[in-house]
């Protein structure tokens, strides 16, 4: 018998959903139970203490950094606090901390601790690669190492040095010699390729930004390091047509070429990000192709994050990344394996500097972001820009949006956007449940079970929370960092891989669940319904944030396709809530 739902039941269901949402968000760290305060331990940096004061006041030791905190922990912007970092005699930290904690003007005091990434590679010279840490690679590797993305290095070629995994070098092309031998005969391209994806965690040599990404060698520059606009434009188009989604162009010149400009536009239209070096004049004026509209121009900074003296700058700069500054010493350069000096067969680990060295840090970061399911070039670029760290000076002509932080970009694409997907999915589920109860298709006591919520979480990509731990142990589990809508892209051939960005998968799963016998329907109907709502949340997020590009679909149509697909996925979930036997 049909019965209208009493309003208090709907309210209770709503409250239950909100509580569930908060619980899930809590897992993600938004409502964590406060952990005990930091105490002195192995991770503490000797002699360093951080103190928060109600007002500027005398503190023991030497003040090495202090700032007014307006956006403090309590949101009390009307009475800002003072955050002070002090250096005390190592060994006296416990005594100083105890003394500080008794003072009424001290809000809190704690040792400064070193945070470590879950996965630290065992490459012996990784410790000397300050530039990878500065670019945020280490912490990004907890979620992804660039699996499933092809980066084209459009340069002097790539020589298969022993610290590059030959299994990740895909077929390229030599536009100088007009053949398929795209090996490097200069050293520049191999160095650049190393920064993108040097073999990492292999107990040998050094590391790269996106070590699991595939490298595509496109040789457009001769042994002298120069080439033509024609070959470069051809190389860009060839790379995109053969599956590269990140293009690294550590090259440039002062002349504007329409052939190159249209090749860059073509690449972007086909879903590739085009990362280009700003140039090495040390003056205002960004070189081409970096200065083209569709390119992502990179300036170079040294170890302190200040613009390197050789780096070109100008209004076209998108971001700054470590390119080395050897005026501070040899080891302030960028260290990778490449060809030894004056050799075309022997390899060596060499320190280079230049905006060419800054560029592959960004290309690697783009590959990391793309490997967690963000495939629209605009979304990748926005993500890299919006998560960039503050530069030493607010100067967009020199630093663009700021200093590259790959970890922050990956965190935003997984955790930050994951929470939005969940929120959309939960709202969709709540609305569908309310509707089903409103028209009597679901009884008040029929509450969604754990399988429903599990399906919803999986569909919305909540498994990404396990990616750091799972991926650290078994790299084959790295796909967990992706929402399921992006899983087919990882495992299927390119065209079939895009089926995830539609309602096809939830629809295909819902059919058997709907037609199955009653016990099976009870067991799996909820799971698939939850999955469909999660999928709808993911598709809706992709439509709103415009994170996905499909090669055959014009970018303008894409949000509409995703919106329509999200609605169909939601309707699939809603359909599974309708239980005919109840009618």
């Amino acid at each position: 018998m049909l019965q209208k739902m009493p309003p208090d039941v709907i309210l209770r269901a709503g409250a239950g959903l909100v509580t569930g949402a908060l619980l899930i968000l809590g897992v993600a760290g938004c409502s964590r139970v406060p952990a005990p305060l930091m105490e002195l331990g192995d991770d503490a940096i000797p002699g360093l203490i951080e103190v928060e004061l109600r007002a500027p006041a005398q503190v023991p030791g030497t003040v090495i950094d202090q700032e007014e905190q307006e956006d403090d922990l309590y949101g009390d912007v009307l009475s800002p606090e003072w955050s002070v970092e002090i250096q005390v005699e190592p060994g006296t930290e416990a005594e100083v901390l105890a003394q500080l904690r008794t003072r009424p003007d001290v809000i809190w005091a704690e040792p400064v601790v070193r945070y470590q990434a879950l996965w630290i590679p065992d490459d012996p010279d990784f410790g000397r690669q300050w530039h990878l840490k500065a670019a945020g690679a280490e912490r990004a590797w907890d979620a992804t190492r660039g699996e499933g993305v092809t980066v084209a290095v459009i340069d002097t070629g790539i020589y298969p040095v022993d610290d590059l995994d030959p299994g990740r070098l895909v077929k390229g092309w030599n536009f100088v010699g007009k053949n398929d031998d795209a090996r490097d005969d200069h050293a520049h391209g191999t160095h650049v390729a190393g920064t993108v994806a040097q073999s990492t965690g292999n107990g040998k040599g050094v590391a790269g930004m996106a070590p699991q990404a595939r490298l595509m060698p496109i040789k457009v520059l001769s042994a002298s390091g120069s080439g033509t606009s024609h070959d470069i434009a051809e190389g860009v188009r060839w790379a995109v047509d053969h599956g590269a989604r990140v293009l690294n162009l550590s090259l440039g010149g002062g002349g504007r070429s329409l052939a190159m400009e249209s090749a860059v536009a073509y690449a972007r239209r086909r879903g590739a990000v085009v990362i280009c070096a700003a140039g090495n004049t040390g003056r205002r004026g960004v070189s081409y192709p970096a200065a083209y509209g569709g390119a992502f121009a990179v300036s170079a900074v040294g170890p302190q994050g200040r613009l390197a003296p050789y780096s070109s700058f100008g209004p076209e700069i998108s971001i700054a990344a470590p390119g080395g500054d050897k005026s501070q010493g040899e080891d302030a350069g960028v260290l990778q394996q490449t060809l030894a000096e004056d050799s075309t067969t022997e390899s060596a680990f060499r320190w280079f500097q230049g905006t060419s060295m800054a560029t592959p840090h960004v290309a690697g970061a783009a590959a990391l972001v793309m490997s967690v399911g963000v495939t629209a070039p605009g979304a990748v670029e926005d993500l890299l820009r919006s998560t960039a760290r503050n530069p030493p000076a607010k100067d967009p002509e020199r630093y663009g949006a700021g200093l590259l932080d790959a970890a922050a970009a990956v965190r935003q694409a997984t955790l930050g956007w994951g929470l939005w997907r969940l929120a959309f999915a939960i709202f969709g589920a709540w609305f569908a449940l309310r509707h089903a109860r409103g028209i009597g298709q679901l009884r008040a006591r029929e509450k969604p079970g754990p399988l429903f919520w599990a399906g919803l979480g999986v569909g919305a990509g909540a498994l990404a929370l396990f990616a750091p731990v799972a991926g650290e142990r078994i790299s084959a589990l790295s796909f967990l960092a992706l929402p399921p809508a992006a899983w087919p892209q990882r495992f299927l051939v390119p065209i079939a891989g895009y089926i995830g960005w539609s309602a096809l998968v939830p629809f295909a799963l819902a059919l058997p669940a709907r037609l199955a016998s009653r016990p099976l329907q009870t067991a799996f109907g909820g799971l698939i319904a939850g999955l469909a709502f999660g999928w709808a949340g993911t598709l809706l997020h992709a439509a709103v944030w415009r994170t996905v590009a499909l090669p055959w679909m014009p970018a303008l149509l894409m949000p509409f396709w995703l919106l329509a697909s999200a609605f169909v996925a939601w309707a699939v979930g809603r359909g599974l809530l309708a239980r005919e036997p109840l009618r």
Binding site: H188, G225, G255, Y310, S312, F352, Q353
Partner: protein, 71 residues
């Protein structure tokens, strides 16, 4: 074309040869490394052609060296 200036090795992009021309311009030189090395730091006259191409230097026009002599 002939350009005179001072030849220097610049530690950029793995190593570039630069001619600081008497005309106030900086040219990235493309040519035989052995020949360029032998004239490092010297005042030179370079005969060659301005290259239209693009390269790793990104620090000014490229001059493809035909002949180089110390002056």
């Amino acid at each position: 074309m002939k350009i005179t200036g001072t030849l220097e090795f610049v530690d950029l992009e793995g190593g570039l040869w630069r001619l600081n021309g008497d005309d106030g311009k900086r040219y990235t030189l493309l040519g035989s490394k052995a020949e360029l090395k032998s004239a490092r730091g010297a005042r030179v006259e370079v005969e060659g052609s301005l290259d239209e191409g693009i390269g790793i230097g990104m620090a000014g026009p490229q001059l493809r060296v035909g002949r180089i002599r110390k002056i």
